[in-house]
Symmetry: C2
């Protein structure tokens, strides 16, 4: 699943543990679940659940390899979330927004 509603996307980002996982994955490397969880104060199961959520949101990819599962970052997912923020931020951000402000009489 790589297409998810925006709220689901952001909800997936709305947890410090998951942000930590993404940060660790941000170097583009492949990590097994156990290795991703190293140092974190939660069980492996918890990490696996977080990865489920990140995967459903399209932020990571699982690849089975032997008895391990290799996790990688999916930058397209990040891109999608960023795009949404652009939409909300841009309209008011650009000159059009400013113009509109002037026209609608705040100035």
């Amino acid at each position: 699943m790589s297409k998810a509603e925006p709220a689901v996307l952001f909800a997936a980002l709305g947890d410090p543990t998951r942000l930590g996982l993404l940060a660790r994955l941000a170097d583009g490397g492949e990590y097994s679940i156990a290795r991703l969880g190293e140092g974190l104060p939660v069980s492996r199961q918890a990490v696996a659940k977080h990865l489920d959520i990140l995967q459903d949101a399209g932020f990571v990819r699982r690849r089975k390899s032997g008895r391990e599962v290799q996790i990688t970052l999916r930058r397209e997912g990040i891109e999608t979330a960023r795009h949404w923020l652009d939409q909300v931020g841009a309209q008011w951000d650009g000159t059009l927004g400013r113009l509109r402000d002037l026209l609608e009489g705040d100035g």
Copy 2:
């Protein structure tokens, strides 16, 4: 409160109702709470709570005006969230250090 941990930021975005509110605010206009809630299938109280969360995350600003409260979008908040996504989405080119700072620095 305009400085919030990244997870709090994204968590605030992780709800369809709140995204709807932000989308409505994206035109740069001022909206009273009641007006923001118009058409939504939730009570005014629920909207107010959502706005609390959005405000804590730094996405909106409240301005009291008479018996109403005018809500406006806070672009800087959006910007902050987008910045974070930029860090994670960026390829391995040295931005990673900054990402670590963001996550571990203020935790």
